[in-house]
Structure formats: C-alpha cells, structure tokens
C-alpha cells in the first residue's frame, strides 16, 4: 500500500469508520451573496472538499457586447460588478480610449476618479457590513449601509442612478458635476473618517471578531500569485500591488495616497485592508475635489465610433482587484470580441484552497472575505 493509504487506514482504525456528508451550499444560501453554489463534503464539521459551481447568473454580457456599438456596451458593464458600477464604466472606457489613442481632459479624469472612489467606498462598506453579518454581527451592517446610502445619494445626484450610473462615455463624461455636489460631498468626506472609527470600535479589536477571522481563510502571498489573486485579498497577503500606483491611469499619479498592505494573509487582514482603503479613498476624493481643474469634461467625438483594427488590454484597480477589459476591434462600429477579466472570478478560485481542512464556519468567513459579486463572476 502507498503511504497515504496506510495513513488513512490507521486514521480510520483510530477514529472508527466514519462517513462524510455532502451538503449543498447554495444556490440559495444566506452567505453566498447571490446565486453561488458550492458542494461541500463534510466530515463532522470539517470541510473535506469544496467544489464551486458557477453560472447561475450568466447573462452572456461578453457575447452581447459583440452586437452593440462601443457606446452601447457601457450600460452592460454596469451590470458586471453592480456594487461598484462606476469602476466597470471606467475600465471599459479607458480600454476603448487606449484603442483610439485619445486622452480625456483633466477635469473629466478628476470626475472619473471622484466617482470611482465613491463607488469603491460604497462597495467596501457594503462588503464590510455583509462580512460582519456573515459572522453573526448584525449592527455593523446597518451602520455601514447608512453611509452607503449617502454615497448612493451622491451617485444619484450626479448620474441619476444609484447603482448603475452609465455616466462615463468614451472620451470623457456624459455631463459635468452638478454645482451643489462639491459642498455636499465635502461635508460627507469630513464626517466619514469618524464613522469608520465607529465601525472599527465595533469590530476591529473585538475578541470574538478576531477569533473568528484571524488565521481564517489563510492564503499565502505565493499562493495568491499562483492563483492570480489581486486586489485587497493580495494586499492582505503582503503583496504591494495596486494598479492605481503601479500602472497609474486617469491621473491617479497626481494624488497622494498609500497602498494599504498587511501581512496576515487571513480574513482579518482583508477586513483591515478594506477599512484602511476606505480612508485612503476618502482622502483621494478630498484631494480631487479641492484641486478639481477647470475646463472641458470630455473630448468632442464626432460620428460613429469606429476604432482602428487591433487589440487592446487595459486594467484598472476595481474594489475587488484587477478589472481588465480585452477588446479586439476589426475596424467596424462593434467590438469583434470583448473579454472581461473579472477580479472576483479569479479570486474565487482560492476558495477550495482556503477552506479544505478547516471548519464549516470558517468556510463562511473565508467565502465572505473574497468579496463575492456573482454578477461579475458569471457575467
């Protein structure tokens, strides 16, 4: 007999013959945040095997995009990561602009930064609340949603829509910022850091919270790189990689902010990274509002948009990681092929690695720390 088999045999003799149990976590389960299904093999409460099943929310966005003009694709991108619609808009528009070789005027770039950072905060807030709720703490969720509501109000004020702005255009923005936005947003930004402190008093140093998240969902930096993990998950593993810093786009190089890096590789540090990122984003918005350049918000585009034939890949730092768009153009008004590199789709790969051999409760914490948006995973 091979050695593992002998060990298994000995183990069985020691513990008695036991059977594992297969349970179906999802597609309707409170902590899968959407329609994600994982077939989990349990030995008692220990997770033996996890097999994720995707595709319950597949809408064929990439295929639909092939039959739309370049501008008509923008509303589709909102529906990818609906928690941060503006980020998707930005990623797509930047990709097409790169294909066309145009640059957005500074004011447009700044407005883009403000919108994407606002939606980053709103996305992180919702994640933190949902994550706390997954671990049984109800109240932080309501506190965080309170601030998120204010951000959604701002998004509605600028774009007319709360979750799916579709406000970006190839070459700039659809409109300028409304005049009353600046003061209201400044007020929010001043009040926001104390609010984050408030959330942190509820969770960060809480003994139960620490015991539930520290060391849970461990994913080392090496594994992160092997699996292609990006975003807060990678930064919680000590990887200093933020596309806003490392490959600046949309004048992110003009802002003074830090890449938040922790080295715990666990759910706790993913939480801390996101909390700190909210503070950093807040800082970016403040700088952008203070130094908002005058001038046009977009370049004038004439006629139907027909980019030259060729292919292009452009990635941005979305709230969940590297959001990339790969577009192949054949010179017509419609993209020949569009591929979305969705960060959560890639990050979700780490789930079996994080969960197997751990407890079922830890699986919920690990799954939650991925920051799942199934609309983006399934596209």
């Amino acid at each position: 007999m091979a050695e593992p088999e002998i060990r298994l045999h000995q183990e069985k003799r020691k513990r008695g013959e036991t059977e594992t149990m297969e349970i179906n976590m999802g597609p309707q389960h409170p902590s899968t945040h959407g329609v994600f299904r994982a077939v989990v093999e349990l030995d008692g409460e220990t997770v033996v095997k996890v097999v994720p099943h995707l595709g319950y929310l597949h809408r064929g966005i990439e295929k639909i995009a092939e039959n739309r003009t370049y501008h008509q694709v923008i509303p589709l991108t909102d529906r990818l990561d609906y928690m941060a619609g503006a980020s998707n808009n930005l990623g797509y528009c930047l990709t097409v602009e790169k294909l066309l070789g145009i640059e957005v005027p500074p004011r447009g770039q700044y407005i883009r930064v403000i919108l994407t950072e606002l939606s980053r905060i709103s996305s992180h807030l919702f994640w933190a609340g949902a994550n706390a709720h997954d671990l049984g703490a109800m109240t932080p969720f309501f506190f965080m949603v309170r601030e998120r509501e204010q951000i959604l109000f701002f998004l509605e004020m600028i774009t007319g829509s709360r979750l799916t702005p579709s406000f970006f255009r190839v070459g700039g923005m659809s409109m300028d910022l409304p005049p009353e936005f600046r003061d209201e947003c400044m007020k929010f930004i001043k009040n926001f850091p104390p609010r984050v402190d408030e959330y942190e008093t509820l969770l960060t140093e809480n003994k139960i919270w620490k015991s539930r998240t520290q060391g849970v969902g461990y994913l080392s930096a090496e594994d992160c790189i092997k699996l292609g993990i990006s975003g807060p998950m990678a930064r919680a593993a000590g990887i200093d990689w933020d596309l806003r810093k490392n490959q600046p786009y949309s004048s992110y190089d003009k802002f003074d902010f830090k890449t938040v890096v922790y080295h715990g590789c666990d759910a706790y540090d993913r939480y801390r990274v996101r909390m700190m990122e909210m503070r950093q984003s807040n800082e970016i918005i403040r700088q952008a509002l203070e130094s908002l350049p005058e001038g046009d918000h977009s370049v004038t585009m004439k006629g139907t948009l027909k980019p030259p034939a060729g292919e292009v890949y452009m990635a941005i730092e979305a709230p969940r990681g590297e959001l990339g768009f790969y577009i192949v153009s054949d010179g017509t008004a419609q993209p020949f092929r569009m591929k979305v590199r969705a960060p959560t789709f890639v990050n979700l790969q780490s789930l079996p690695k994080m969960c197997e051999g751990k407890l079922f409760s830890d699986m919920v914490a690990a799954l939650s720390s991925v920051d799942l948006v199934l609309a983006e995973v399934d596209r």
Binding site: E45, F143, L203, N206, F360
Partner: protein, 364 residues
C-alpha cells in the same frame, strides 16, 4: 366534608388559578418580548423596527400569530413523523416548565381568608406563596427540565431529514450539554452558602443589605460564579454570540429549518421562553430574585416583590438583546474549548474559594 379537606380544596383552587394566570400572562409576555426584541434591535441599529401594526407596533405579535396560523403546515417527505411533531412540543414544554419552581414573589395571597362566613386556610402546599411549586430540589429540577429541552432540538434536527438541521441539532446537543455542566457547577457555591436547593430559600437568603445600601445578592459574594453562569445561560439559550444552533449564515436556520406554520412558531416562542427563563433564573440565583426595598411593608408585600422580580428579569432580557446587537457570533469549536478548558476549571476554582468567601462574609 372534614374541615382540613376544605382547606385543601381552597389551596388547590388557588394553585390552579395561579397556574392559569401565570400561563396566560407568560404567553402574552412571550409574544411581546418578540416585539420588544425587534424594536430594541431597531433602536440599536438606527432603524425603526415594526411600528406599523397598531400604536408603536403593539399589535404586531397578534398579526404574526394570525399569519403563523394561516401558513400551510408542511411536513417534509421522509421525515421521521413522530419525532418531527414531538420536537417543538418538547421544546416549548421545557421552556414553560422551568417556571414551575422559580419564585416570582414572596406571599401573594393572605394565609387565611374569610369567605362566606368560613375561614379558609391557603397555606397548604405553599399555595399562597409566589411560586407554583416550592420544591426542595428545585435546582435539580431546573437542570433536568433544561436537559429535556435539548432533546427537542436534537429531535428536530434528527427528525426533519435535512443535513443542515442535523448539523444544528448536533451542535445544540454538544454545546448545551457542556454548558449545563458549567452552569450547574457554578451554582455549587450558592448551594454551599444557603444549604438549600429550594429557590425560595435561595432568594430569602439574599434579603437585607450590607451597610444599608449594598444588597446581599449572590452576584456580589459569588462574582465568578455569576459571570460563568451568565455565559453558560447565553450558550444554553442559544442566543448571540452563541447562536450556533440556528446560525443563519452557516446552517441557514439550523434545527428549525424544515418547520413551518405553528410548529415554527412554537420553536420561535420557546426560544424566547428559554431566554426569559434563563433571565429569571439568573435573577433568582444572583440578583436577589424578588428581594428589594420595602418588601416587608404590610399592604405592599403582596405585589411589590412580583414587580421587583419582573423588572429585574426584563433588565436581563434587555441585556440579552443588547448583547445580540453588539457581538459577532462565536465559533462552535472555540465555544466548546471555552466551555471545557476555561469555564469548567473556573467553576472548580469557584467551589474551592467558596468556603473562604463564606467565612469572609460571615456565613460560616
């Protein structure tokens, strides 16, 4: 009819009335504690909570009850029918039975009363006291009943042919059994001090004050036991941060997953029943039960102790809800570790130091 028999009849009637009034009031309170919890959670979480049905949502429990009755009563296929149906009954019965030995007042009825020209004696079987059954092994009965309550959860988990429910049932069994041990041993110090297992005696022992201000409650003389007992009842009643048995985010709804209609409502009520029972027990053991200022003043002595008891119990219920709004859920294996490796040795230490505290406070 012999004279003494008439006294017995009078006492039995009083006991039955006591049980009836208690049952009706308890069910009412139970229904309104659900509303209280939802409103308080709303208050803690900066939202309203149910405030639409009736003034301030006061008719919400009625609406919920009607809704529960109207729902279809589904029995899952392949369920073990007998076990499946028995489970909620056992659980709710245990929640109610605990109150049979908890004293909610001192003397609630005059010892003798003249009715129709004849003097009836109401003191037989302690009928005029504020407790349904003043048993001299009340602590043992409380623990026996709460153990039976656990069967309700295990049966629900086993009988409903659902893997999540099974996991919930297994967790319930493991957690509650290990925490009953800690809770039981935490009370040993009290039994040593009072020399009685009757809850009435324990409450009476806690009368009076030191220096006229600090009440002689056991939470001051047995602080370690108080903390351990409080943690243990949190685990036993399955409240946050120890609510693994239902654990919405992991086990969806745990043991009660496959229950609908009134069966579900029974579980729901019984959980609150257990919470109130746990609060009442904590009050009885550690917070002086019905003791309070002016309980001996004639005229006030019939109802003042009852009010004290209710107020103290509701403050603990509030505490339960407050904790739920504040803390995340603990993990199941960590809880077992806490129970066996921390709380159990701590109770033993408490038993060891109890004689010294008794000497210190002059009980020995």
């Amino acid at each position: 009819m012999p004279e003494s028999n008439m006294d017995l009849v009078a006492s039995v009637i009083l006991i039955l009335v006591k049980i009836g009034v208690f049952f009706a009031l308890f069910m009412l309170i139970l229904a309104y504690v659900t509303l209280l919890e939802r409103r308080l959670l709303g208050f803690f979480q900066e939202r309203y909570g149910p405030n639409r049905v009736g003034w301030q949502g006061l008719l919400q429990p009625v609406a919920d009850g009607i809704k529960m009755f109207m729902k279809e009563d589904v029995t899952v296929s392949e369920a073990n029918k007998a076990v499946y149906i028995l489970a909620p009954i056992v659980f709710v019965a245990a929640a109610l039975m605990t109150f049979s030995v908890i004293p909610f007042g001192d003397v609630i009825w005059p010892a003798t009363m003249e009715i129709g020209g004849r003097v009836y004696n109401f003191t037989l079987a302690n009928a005029n006291r504020g407790v349904i059954a003043d048993v001299n092994v009340a602590i043992l009965i409380v623990f026996a009943i709460s153990s039976i309550g656990i069967y309700g959860l295990i049966m629900a988990g086993w009988g409903s042919n659902n893997k999540y429910a099974l996991l919930g049932g297994v967790r319930a069994a493991a957690v509650m059994i290990s925490y009953e041990l800690a809770a039981g041993l935490a009370l040993v110090g009290i039994i040593m001090t009072t020399g009685s297992m009757s809850l009435m005696d324990i409450v009476k022992f806690q009368g009076g004050c030191w220096f006229g201000v600090i009440p002689k409650w056991f939470c001051f003389t047995q602080p370690l036991a108080f903390v351990i007992f409080l943690i243990a009842v949190f685990a036993e009643t399955g409240r946050t941060p120890f609510d693994f048995t239902e654990c919405e985010n992991e086990l969806v709804a745990g043991y009660q997953m496959e229950y609908s209609s009134m069966k579900f409502a029974l579980f729901y009520l019984a959980e609150y029943g257990h919470m109130i029972a746990a609060s009442a027990l904590t009050v009885t053991f550690f917070l002086g039960g019905w003791q309070g200022p002016f309980v001996d003043v004639p005229g006030l002595n019939y109802f003042l102790p009852v009010i004290y008891f209710c107020v103290k119990t509701f403050m603990l219920v509030f505490f339960f809800i407050w904790v739920r709004a504040t803390y995340p859920r603990f993990r199941y294996d960590l809880l077992m570790k806490l129970g066996w490796k921390v709380l159990l040795p701590a109770t033993l230490v408490n038993i060891l130091i109890s004689p010294f505290t008794m000497k210190l406070f002059g009980y020995l």
